[in-house]
Amino acid sequence: MQVNEYKPLIVAFCCNWCSYAGADLAGNNRLNYPADVKIIRVPCSCRVNPMFILRAFQRGADGVIICGCHPGDCHYTSGNYYTRRRMALLFSMLDYLGIERERTRLEWVSAAEGAKFAATMNDFAEKVAALGENKRLEDLRCKK
Amino acid sequence: MHKDNTKLTEEIIRASGVNPKKCMKCGKCSATCPAYDEMEYHPHQFVYMVESGDIEPLMNSKSLYMCLSCFACIDRCPRGVEPAKLVEAVRLSVIRQQGKNHMTADDVPAKLSEDLPQQAIVSAFRKYTK
């Protein structure tokens, strides 16, 4: 058991066609994962502008995860390939800035992988929680 | 199952730079090998046996010394497996052991013929000895 009541704040970007449906399936099957995970629906993982991720960290998110269709299964043919390249760059830059690698993740979750979605979120939340609060990019002016 | 050869297998895979898992078992290496009939284990078996860690029989086989290094199996393999490099790596793992040279200087005179080029002796030494 965790001693303190610290709950990480996790933003999950899910593509409409695979991962968001995968999250729905996790729900249908009543597979638990932490409530710390909040999902934002995007048409395709390639809609996720690195700016959104920076914004989340700036506003106090402790972890950001992007979920898309498996390579080759993108509803828009090639969107997740763009995501893969963009995120590889962004994550390594964030790493350089001191945002630990464990705070960012790119995961492929299909519409059939409800269990994978839940497991991924459990694992991610646990890893992020272990790192503690993320202060590195947080803009204190944004805190209420 | 044969005994655990994991380390040896890894060493052979590393030294040869060959990934035997790429093999699709078409047998073109053995179809193309000019030394096939002289070999107890044929090129495709080499790949399979290294893949499955069954290395000892290969180390004790005269097949090692029959490979001509003509690289035909390397060029004609549709999957880029490069069996000849595996043969070479296994052979090295044998002749690098003490006293395991396949040929000694004393053997040479008997094998010489008048016009045999140096190249043959040099190559044989390179292949058969450490």
Binding site: A23, D24, G27, P43, R59, K144 | R79
Partner: protein
């Protein structure tokens, strides 16, 4: 400022069991823009929808947030409700508090907290929503089929049968494609010509079909429903309308030594020729590279013997412009070159042939009139070696072979081997295989028959070297089961060459902005669920241009593509998805980055006049998104370096508002 109504659904106890719905409705009341908030047992029920409709009227709502099940479930329902109440349907956002909240969390407190946050995010988004209207575009009710093989023929016939006009563009002088060159077809062994030529005649006689043979597509512009296509009809120096196809010109033509493409160069044709007896259209064509009259102005025999007066040495290429609503690609395949596989001695011996050449050798209309004679000395071969997978499944050497399985070779080789043993029982037939792949109705039975009833010798192994010596081909091969190296003296070696997309496919894909894979096969919109559509709207795929296929598969895909085309042409207008990208012209600097990442080719550039800060006018290159083509993935929005590109319905500002709401 929006006037937003929030509607929290209980979903019976599905939501209300884990989420305090009253607390959620109460908490969201205080969010900016929210003027009304309530909860109800079943929002999706008629009564629930009425609550929404009434609230819209009563509170003059401009936006709606429904906290309920997944938008994948009822987004469409609530959009309709909004529309019924006179609101733009795209002013509705759903907060998914069932699948992504009540069902996955057990604790009432955490569930409620999360539901409130999800609701806040949806409210934040609706605050920035704008009414969206789907675009409409007209549909030209005519289809273009590129390629006149069995795929193109079947697609054209099906579309024409539904009553729409179809044009077929075929590069060769006749339609028929590869199937016209085949002898028998597996697994039933009926003759290819017997089942193909009636279809070719149907095409010729169908009033809805026009055939542009000896023609190629030069330019394609436009988009789904509205393609503008330029077709080049190459000069054949014969008036197509007048020529009766009698063949008198062919007989008298003195240029007799032109390699005959139809028989793969195994015999000769004349400079004026009809590819084969059942050609459609059955008209002669003059080969300008071979005709003495066209080259040197000396001869003119064909013109003299043509009683119809169809020969016209002055004929020029003709350019045809036409509008189409849909384009079907049916460009087919070719066997790869055997130049890089000379361990099989294809270039050294006439008796090493490809399987397609073998088809011609056994075809009654082929160079040997159907007698199996080997090309070098026209002797009957007594030992034949078939080699499978020549260049297929070849991962090591991209410049040499193909990484994929060509799919059709196992079956046609079984067919060849069986037919040889059937007609010439004195012939020994070996087939060297890596794996025999026969998934298909009655396919494996067919292959087994070749082995068990016809005595074809299947050997698991590969041929390593073919050495022509004397009048024999020395075949060195491996037999992996016997663990032996075999040496066979063969009379004929037949190579199952890998197949590749026709070379014309690449430039066509560029014209259509249709995507291709690394092997130049066209990509389908979805590999499982949309297999006959290209991701580019209005472009459909038929036959082997999409991947290796046998005839039954090609025909089913051709008909499937036709039904998709018919579905499109039936519509008078196309309604688009309003959630598409658009560029802010003032910010766009015309760099082309967005167009390069767009998988649909939806982005073009236009030079537009702008008023500059110094009040002068200047032309600037700016991106234009075609609303009929854009599918709304958003790849361009992230690629855009100046931030000009945005995606309606998922605008950057909206997503950031959601992020902010969640991270508050």
């Amino acid at each position: 400022m929006q006037r937003i109504g929030v509607f929290v659904c209980w979903c019976g106890s599905n939501i209300a069991g884990t989420v305090d719905v009253h607390a959620v409705a109460e908490a969201l009341k205080n969010e900016p823009g929210v003027v009304f908030s309530t909860d109800y047992q079943y929002m999706c029920s008629q009564a629930g929808q009425d609550i929404i409709k009434n609230a819209v009227k009563e509170h003059n709502l401009t936006g709606i947030v429904v906290c309920s099940c997944s938008p994948r479930m009822h987004e469409a329902t609530f959009r309709k409700t909004a529309a019924a109440a006179g609101l733009n349907p795209y002013m509705v956002e759903i907060a998914n508090i069932r699948e992504q909240c009540s069902w996955v969390h057990k604790n009432m407190q955490t569930g409620t907290e999360k539901a409130i946050i999800l609701g806040k995010a949806a409210v934040a988004k609706v605050n920035l929503n704008t009414p969206l209207t789907p675009g409409e575009s007209p549909v030209t009710k005519r289809a273009l089929v590129i390629g006149g093989g069995i795929a193109g023929i079947q697609t054209a016939l099906d579309i024409a049968d539904a009553g729409f006009p179809v044009d077929i563009v075929e590069a060769k002088p006749t339609i028929g494609g590869k199937m016209a060159q085949l002898d028998k077809t597996f697994p039933t062994l009926d003759c290819a010509a017997c089942i193909l030529t009636p279809k070719m005649v149907d095409v010729a006689q169908n009033e809805n079909i026009r055939i542009f043979s000896y023609s190629e597509v030069q330019e394609i512009k436009g988009f789904v429903g509205n393609f503008d296509v330029t077709i080049k009809k190459k000069a054949r120096f014969v008036k197509e309308e007048i020529c009766t196809g009698c063949g008198a010109c062919v007989e008298k033509c003195p240029m007799k030594k032109i390699p005959n493409e139809f028989n793969l160069g195994m015999d000769n044709r004349r400079a004026i020729y009809i590819p084969f007896a059942q050609a459609v259209p059955k008209v002669a064509t003059i080969d300008p590279n071979a005709c003495n009259m066209l080259k040197n102005g000396k001869c003119g025999v064909c013109s003299k013997v043509c009683t119809a007066g169809a020969i016209d040495y002055t004929q020029k290429d003709e350019i045809i412009s036409e509008k189409y609503g849909a384009v079907v690609v049916a460009t087919g395949f070719n066997p790869i070159s055997m130049d890089k596989f000379d361990e099989f001695a294809y270039n050294q011996s006439k008796d090493v042939i490809t399987s397609l050449e073998f088809e011609r050798l056994t075809n009654a209309a082929g160079p040997t009139a159907g007698k199996l004679l080997r090309p070098s000395d026209l002797e009957h071969p007594h030992t034949i070696v078939f080699v499978q997978c020549v260049g297929s499944r070849c991962a090591a050497c991209a410049e040499k072979g193909k990484e994929y399985c060509s799919k059709i070779c196992c079956m046609y080789t079984a067919k060849h081997a069986m037919l040889v043993r059937d007609k010439y029982p004195d012939t020994e037939v070996y087939v060297f295989y890596i794996d025999v792949r026969t998934p298909g109705k009655n396919f494996d039975e067919f292959y087994r028959r070749a082995v068990e009833e016809y005595g074809v010798k299947y050997i698991k192994g590969m041929v390593g070297k073919v050495t022509p010596e004397g009048n024999k081909l020395k075949v060195q091969a491996s037999d992996l089961i016997a663990n032996k190296q075999l040496h066979i003296d063969a009379d004929l070696v037949v190579l199952a060459a890998a197949i590749e997309p026709d070379k014309s496919a690449r430039s066509l894909a560029t014209m259509l902005t249709a995507s291709m894979d690394t092997n130049d096969f066209f990509t389908e919109a979805h590999p499982k669920l949309r297999p006959v559509e290209s991701p580019t709207a209005g472009v459909f795929l038929s036959g082997a241009c999409q991947g290796p296929k046998d005839i039954p598969e090609t025909v089913s895909q051709a008909s499937a593509a036709a039904s998709k085309v018919i579905g499109l042409l039936c519509k008078d207008k196309l309604t688009g998805n309003p959630c598409i990208a658009s560029a802010n012209e003032l910010m766009c600097n015309g760099c082309s980055t967005c167009a390069n990442v767009c998988p649909y080719g939806a982005i073009t550039y236009e030079d537009k006049e702008f008023m500059m800060p110094d009040r002068t006018k200047a032309l600037r290159r700016v991106a234009q998104v075609n609303p009929a083509v854009c599918q709304g993935c958003g790849a361009c929005t992230v690629a855009c370096m100046s931030g000009a590109m945005d995606l309606r319905g998922f605008m950057g500002s909206q997503i950031i508002a959601e992020v902010d709401a969640i991270c508050k």
